[in-house]
Symmetry: C2
Subunit: 560 residues, 2 copies
């Protein structure tokens, strides 16, 4: 009868805006109003400041989201149900573990991936008794607060905040994979700190826990290192387009307080042309022409990996950058090494001859030097897939590999026994499909055409191509934005809400709480909700469909 | 010697940021500083208010653009040249025609396309004597002011405003084609008036003179018509997503004062589902399933073109919308008529039987009725190409046809003898390449893949496919944004600076002032400049290349 009643007033089944979907969830279909005096109580002795800040932010979101339900008729359809709804007076936070002192979110967020505790348990009764959120860590509480904010809608006047899916029970929602990232390239074009922070906020809303900061590249070196000030002074686009040491600390702290670790990357030995502006003797083939013979895109230039002084310099730079960050991971890059650049470089050839090393031996020593700087800081190195697939070099067993050229290459990396992160260009590259940006190529398309829709990204299977014995090697995955055609002006619109696709795949795993596989036709309801909520919070996420469809996704499927 | 001197300090040849390039231009390479007390004198008796407003806006742009030259070293390279530069004290505006009263820009901008006077003559001496701008109309003066603002750069401190290409002489720069447009669909997703106005500003900066406002469609009817308030009351997405009569006047006035006419479109007989919400008896197959059998996208629904009451209603709606606008053109649409919708509609079949008309005869009568409403207002009708290519119906000879399905179809339309506007999906559709938005189609791509880059759009030849005898039929062209995946959040980034490509093709014509053909490798320098200027003025135009390339486009070509 209830089903029929729903149909009679034209209401489609209730859909809550949870993203990523918790791994466990039971819920009802009662309406529950957030009390105008709703309180969040922190039942923790000496709670860390960032937890209290997160509680305050949660209350702000509850007050300002003001998202009407995305159904035909919007909130007006809910008015009758609200008259008999319970009222939620409060949410109480507690820690399951009583160890002291209580660590901050920021401290928990930068632990080793395998020791990070992100799980939480949340209950929201429908009868007006208080809600409870508990976790083993403040990081888990932060994740739970994020989930809590996603249950609530507003009426058209913005006066009543309510959910339509009470009671709610989420028992120990823990992520399926420890690494859930987003990569941003801040070297092709520069992004002000404010734009990075807004992106970090949006990442935290979908429980992404790693900001892969591809901070330098051939085109510019915007990272100011106190021990090497000349790198940014000469290599940044301008003095206004530099990340100072204080900026990096600011971003790292802002991120960690939101449950996000920084995986910084200084790409080596390729993608380093900008270093030649301050250290010309360390770079082979700088600005060589035609660029297409010496690099995948202009300008050409690679670190002289066989030159002892260049090796030592690179090791010190990597160490200096890594020691400024609290996390356990740092990327030395390693993609797209161009052989002609080195073959044609007299200095490199002379250095190889002098040392008696093959190129591969020199590369191994070069990478080993930078990785030893990381090991000395207690950190693990991250590299692009070429470092294990294209060259026979020695890498520490804790090295993490980014698979990017093709999703199929995960199998090759797994066969080498390395842990890896899925970053496949055929699913997760956010820049693909925007056309050729190289000049004088009017018929050229994006090298990784077509555009990677959220629907396509959402079909990615982290365990495809590998054996069940290799499954433990999958640390997680991420979507990535290379910024040849992006800057702050289109950052939000090219990233959101698409980057939420991988956030759910790697948190929720293969199945929804009811055991059914992830499905785009189910997810689109929630993704629309997430997108509208992002816009309410100031992130310019794009519309995925005409608004008519956003209220009725089931009527806009290909076969509906 | 001078050339060598330039090379010695690493300066690439001067490039001014003119867009569209004037059809006539001679210039030098002297530096000239805008006087801190620079004045614009209007040597016109009783100048219209919108001309004075345009002068004030010009002065504001000169003060706030603060664009450093896009060259390595930026403005620092220019410091030596500025020491010996002349100073420009003023610009004087005058009208070549002494007829009175002087018409406003807004009045000139909405004249018949063939009587619109957009030409101007501009001289900027290098020796410190005043600059002069003259034209036959205030609209021409407005175009000249727009050109004038594009010559100026700033030093890094923003204290000195200067050009590096004085003296300048532009003798009678008149557009190659009278119609240069941009289409925006405000029905799939709604765009607030403020976003439309910002777009109109950007359009005016590149001398686009027509805003093709695709204001209604199947998904929503946001246009509030005083005589038919129920259409928007029932058919808009919400009461906050309606263009009131005052909004339309506001937009039309804002546009006209910037030299832009409104070409409003109420698409008929297809794309009208939203009308069924207030007038169910006038719409066949509303929301029929599966939508793919009845429409090109959801939801299905078309006006009952054989039903006399529906025909009369449509005629009155078109007339009501058209009479509220000052321009000479109005579009009745006519694309993507679905035959199964009518074949299956008992009412339509009964009406055809009762009248004894064939479908084509009924369509002809339906279109004739709406066009007669326009003719009664002294306006010409605009239709999509299907109305002349897919059906044998009677159309007035002044009907303007939009060619959209393929650029090649221009030949077919020309063969029918109609004037037409180039709006080809294979060159000018700004939404292409963003992936499939229809749900449950994770492998689907944009129907008009790939993305239409500015480089590709810029290769469009308005005279391809037609004979020289048919050339007079080409009114011009436009780029278009269909908004299934756009709203205000990505409006700027998906439109700009790409839409400037057609603006230049249809103003400048086939050749640059030196007689050479339009070329992407020449244009990219100016387009970067235009893009940076747009950003300075608050339009979030995207980066076309890494900033490294923006300062050195010649080094980022495919063969450089």
């Amino acid at each position: 009868m209830r089903y029929l009643a729903f149909l009679a007033v034209g209401i489609i089944p209730a859909v809550s805006a949870l993203w990523p979907m918790p791994r466990t969830l039971t819920n009802g279909s009662d309406f529950l109003i957030l009390s105008p005096s709703f309180a969040i109580n922190v039942d923790i002795t000496k709670p860390p400041g960032d937890l209290l800040a997160a509680v305050a932010q949660t209350k702000t979101y509850l007050e300002t989201d003001k998202l009407e339900r995305l159904i035909p008729g919007r909130s007006a359809s809910d008015a009758p149900s609200l008259k008999k709804a319970g009222v939620l007076p409060s949410l109480t936070l507690s820690l399951q573990s009583k160890s002291s002192p209580v660590l901050s979110i920021a401290s928990e967020a930068v632990k080793d991936l395998h020791s990070r505790s992100e799980g939480y348990t949340l209950s929201i009764p429908a009868d007006g008794s208080p809600a409870h959120l508990s976790a083993n860590s403040t990081l888990g509480l932060f994740r739970g607060l994020t989930t809590f904010t996603q249950f609530w809608y507003s009426d058209a006047e913005g006066k009543t905040t309510y959910t339509n899916v009470a009671p709610v029970n989420i028992a120990n929602d823990v992520p399926a994979y420890p690494y859930r990232g987003l990569m941003l390239d801040t070297a092709r074009n520069f992004f002000p700190v404010a734009d990075i922070k807004r992106t970090l906020d949006a990442m935290s809303w979908v429980k992404i826990n790693t900001f892969h900061w591809h901070i330098t590249d051939a085109q510019s070196f915007p990272l100011s290192l106190p021990d090497f000030p000349e790198l940014a002074a000469q290599g940044a686009y301008s003095s206004n387009q530099i990340y100072s040491a204080a900026d990096v600390q600011d971003v790292a702290t802002y991120a960690a307080e939101r449950g996000i670790d920084i995986l910084m990357e200084i790409d080596t030995p390729g993608h380093t042309t900008a270093i030649s502006l301050s250290h010309p003797s360390f770079v082979a083939c700088p600005y060589a022409a035609p660029w297409s013979s010496f690099a995948n895109e202009p300008p050409a230039g690679q670190l002289r990996l066989a030159t002892p002084a260049a090796v030592n310099f690179t090791k010190e730079v990597i160490g200096a950058a890594a020691k400024a960050l609290p996390g356990k991971y740092f990327s030395t890059g390693g993609d797209e090494v161009n052989m002609k650049c080195y073959d044609d470089d007299a200095q490199t050839q002379a250095d190889l001859k002098a040392s008696g090393q093959t190129f591969e031996q020199a590369l191994s020593a070069f990478v080993g030097a930078t990785h030893s700087a990381l090991a000395a800081l207690g950190k693990s190195a991250v590299v692009w897939e070429e470092m294990v697939l294209d060259f026979n070099i020695t890498l520490a067993p804790d090295t993490v590999v980014m698979v990017w050229i093709s999703s199929a290459n995960a199998a090759l990396v797994a066969a080498k026994g390395f842990s890896f992160v899925h970053a496949p260009s055929d699913y997760f590259y956010l820049d693909c499909g925007a056309g050729e940006w190289i000049g004088d190529d009017p018929t050229g398309n994006s090298w990784c055409d077509p555009f990677k829709t959220w629907q396509h990204a959402y079909t990615f299977n982290p365990l495809a191509n590998i054996t069940s014995e290799q499954a433990h090697l999958v640390l997680g995955g991420q979507q990535l934005l290379w910024t040849e055609q992006s800057d702050a002006n289109n950052l939000d619109s090219i990233v959101w809400p698409r980057a939420a696709a991988s956030a759910e795949i790697f948190w929720t795993g293969a199945t929804l709480p009811d055991g059914s596989p992830l499905s785009g036709t189910e997810a689109i309801h929630r993704l629309h909700d997430l997108r509208y909520r992002m816009v309410q919070r100031g992130v310019k996420a794009i519309q995925l469909q005409p608004q008519w469809c956003a209220l009725r996704p089931d009527l806009c499927n290909i076969n509906s």
